[in-house]
Each structure stands twice: as structure tokens, then as C-alpha cells.
Amino acid sequence: MSAPLYFQTIAGLSAQLAAGRISSVELTQSVIARTKVVEPRVHAFNSFDEPDALTQAAASDVRRAAGESRGPLDGIPVGLKDVIAVSGQPLTASSKMLANFVSPYDATATENLQRAGAVLHGRLNCDEFAMGSSTENSAFGPAHNPWDLTRTPGGSSGGSAAALASGAAIATLGSDTGGSIRQPAALCGLVGLKPTYGLISRYGLIAYASSLDQIGPFARTVEDAAIMLGAIAGHDPRDSTSFKTEIPDYRAELKNRRGPWKLGIPKEYFGAGLDPEVGAAVEKAIAFYKSLGCEIREVSLPHTQYCLDAYYVIATAEASSNLARYDGIRYGHRSKEAKNILDVYQHSRAEGFGDEVKRRIILGTYVLSSGFYDAYYLRAQKVRTLIRQDFLSAYREVDALVTPTSPIPAFKLGEKSADPLAMYLCDIYTIGVNLAGLPALSLPCGFTASGLPIGLQLIGQPFREADLLATAHAYEQAHDWSKRRPAL
């Protein structure tokens, strides 16, 4: 018996759509019905527009009937993290500050998905302004992990992961500033890709830390991730950090780029704090690559221990600057308490932002303040140079790096929410990649004895996503972790 439509892949569904065996309306109805069943328990969505999704699906079916299908994503329901703008739809960043905000324009990633014919389906829950590792910082309540509803799906793009894992979407987009796509992908048993900085336009993405933020896909398989990446990648004149580079056919390249690859194992990523079951699953994956004929070489990224510190200086500094725009004047929450203009700023921000956002604004303001700039911000930027050089030197020896994605599997909701530092440590294996601007993905590489997914992280070279995806594809072809679905 084949899986219900809502649990199938883009690749499989697009073939059925092309053959006329199913329609986009049927598929979208299947996903909507499933969403209604699981959403009360999973809380992956901030908002959902059923008539709009069905209108898009019907338009896709009309195109297909007229012989004008736009490719593999045409008619496929795709959910967006609620930090990516869709014209005419709510855009909240899971914050009270933007609780009533309706986007007046589309993000470039949104336009690109529409151009590919995707049915844009719902805005997904996340940590407020993408700050967090558990979705517990959402002003609208946390998302739950479909594999164990008492646990977090990860964060910050937890809703994007939870929706896909529970069958409430066929693929989703998230954003990744320090691991916010890869960690939830790992915790929910999905493929999650953070592309090279500059490959995907950030136009229409609510800014957290602009030198680190990058949009990327969640998918059930590496092939689906390749299809999604192909749809959203490319230069955009509206983002001045967008890179002009040739975009290969990522899906076709999965078959063209074969190993064996030289794989580096950074010894700093296998130290204290790594859960033994996670470590064992990653070791098995490394052994698999060796059995493929890959050369496995231990490498060192000596500045790894400083990644977290550099990140929390740079990211919060950028956040304090980016979030200065929420002043209660032109849009967003305005305090009713305010009597003068300073009150408008101070009370609107105090009422509109949650604790973690306030903490990061304060930390960022502090590290940028007069007298501390050199000691914190400038120094962190120099350490960032050294972190980046570590990776680039490793790539003189190897093609890609293999590490765990998260040191631990999904943790209980509430377990770390009172201790920001403990929460920050969830990102120790993912953060360096953002500082260095590299592409990296997480793919399922096993389950714990208690049935929680484990993620393997592959870190690639700048703008070589095709090689990265092919390396992941080789593993996925020989394992069936990606075929498992949570019982929900």
C-alpha cells in the first residue's frame, strides 16, 4: 500500500501529477485535511489560508491541463517559515510585535516558488524573530515534535520541520542563522539545507543577523531538497549580498556527481557533550562512506571552541541594529501607554518583544556600546576570520566535512528554556558554518533507542551545493531512515 499523498515526496508526487493520476487540488486537499488532524497537537502553523491554497492548486491544474506545467514543484504544497514575506498574508516572525502585520509584498524566495508553480500553504511557527533552538520563544506557543509531542521539534524553524514531519506540507522553507534549519531537520528526521551565504536572496526575509541569515529548504529526501534549492537559488539585484553564480540542475547532478569523496572528520566535533547514541550513529555513517571507497581523514578546526562566543557577539550586535526598526511608528505594535515619543519606542518595544529577543537586543547593544566595541565586536569579527580560515584550510585536504548536526536528540519542552546558555549550546556544531558562510545539510542517519531521529551534518565548500547534495544522496540511497514517518 502506498503512503497517503501528504506523506509522499515531491519527486513521487510530481510524477503522479504529470501522469494525470492525481490533481494538485486533490493533493492540496489531502495536505489540508491532514493539517486539520495534526495541527491541534503539533502547532506548526501561525496562519493558514485554505481558500487561497485551493485557488493556487486549481490554477496549477489549469496550467497542467493546458500543457503549461512549470516543472516538478508545480502544484506541490509548500509551507513557509513565518519570517518570509507573502503579499497579502500575515507575517509575524512569531512576535507580538508583528501579530497584526500583513505583508505588502513578496520575498524573492516566495516569488521564485510561485514562478515554479508551488502552492504556498501556510506560515509556519518559529522562535520569535528566529532567535532560539526550540520554538519555545514563539509568542504564539511552541511547536511540538511529531515523533514525541512532549519534545521540541528544534528551532528556530521548528514549525517548518514539524509541519513537514507530520504530513502538513510536502516541503517547507526555513531560515538558518546559526543552525535554525539543520537542527530542527535533525530533530524531526528530515533533510534540511543551509545554502552558501549569498546563494538565496534575503529580500523579504525578516532580518535577524544579516551577515549570517540564509533561507533554505526542508524536504523528505535529498532529491526533494535539490528540487527546492533549484527553485529558490539565484542572483537577485534587490539583495546586495546576493551572489552571481551559475545555478546547476541540482537534481540532475545527483546522478552525475559520484564519489568517492575525501571526507574530513573534525575532531573538535566529537568531544564532551555529544550524546553517545548520536555519536554512534554518526560513526556508522562515516563507516558507510568508508565502505563506498571514500577516504576518511581526521582534520582539525582549532577555533571551534570560540564559534559560540563569536556568534553570540556578532549575531546579537546585528540583531540589535536590525530590530531597531520596530519602533511602534510605521508598523508593528504601538503601546497604548505612551505619552511622548520616547515612550512610544520604549513601551512598544517592551510590550512587543519577548524575553529572548530582549536579551539579544541588550547583549548586542552592550557589545556595540562605546568602550566595548573593540573588546567584543571587533575581536569577534577577527575570530570569525580565523574560524573561516580553519574551514578553508581543511578544504585543501578534503571535499566535505562530516559531523553530528545536534549534540543531542530532541529534548523535552521546558527542559532548557530557563537557561539561555544551555539552549545556545545546542548550536555548537552548526554555528561555525554560518560564520564561515558555507553550505551544510542535515540528513537522517538513525534513531535513538527511544525512537527519536538523529541527524548527520555534511558541510560543503562555498557554492558547491551540487557536490554536497550528491554526497548526501549516496548515503540516503543505501539507508531507509528517510522513509520512516512518525505515528501521529
Binding site: 570560540y306 562566543d309 505594535h333 566595548f372 577577527k382 570569525r384 558562510g437
Partner: protein
Amino acid sequence: MSHPADLNIDRIAELSRLALTPEEKARFSAQLGSVLGHIEQLAKVDVAGVEPTAHAFPLHNVWAIDVAQPGLAVADALRNAPSQRDNMIVVPKVVE
């Protein structure tokens, strides 16, 4: 490097334009103290002669063609304004 105790929460809250309650000030000071304690590690790195990185792949002189593009219509631009009148955003009086 300065000590975490230097985090003058009143001053930083003021610079951040955040009206924090006394309870928030106490809690955030304690929590950020432990984060800053961790960040102090950066002082151990030898950064002599190292250039700072602001962007992993810096692009320079990114120009847009100097041609007027259609922008948001007034109604769209004001759609999310907390208070508006006659196509303008209403704010509290700023001069007496």
C-alpha cells in the same frame, strides 16, 4: 577585556529603547552575566594581525541601475500603520 559586571543594565536598556521592569533587569543581568562569562573566552585568542570579517563573501560596489522603479502604493505602505490620518502616520506630539 572588561568584566561582565560592567553591564550597566539601566544604561543598556535605555540605549536599547526597552522599558524593562525591575524584575526583568535583575533576571536579564544574571542570565547575560553567564553568557558574557562564556564570551570572555574570546580574549584568549591571538588576533594580532588578523583582519576582521564582516561578511563571508564580501561584494563591493554593488550598484543598482539609477532608474525609478514602482514602489508601494500609499494604501499598501500605510496598511500596517498603528495610527493614520489623511495618508499620514499619526505620532505623539514631539515639540511643544
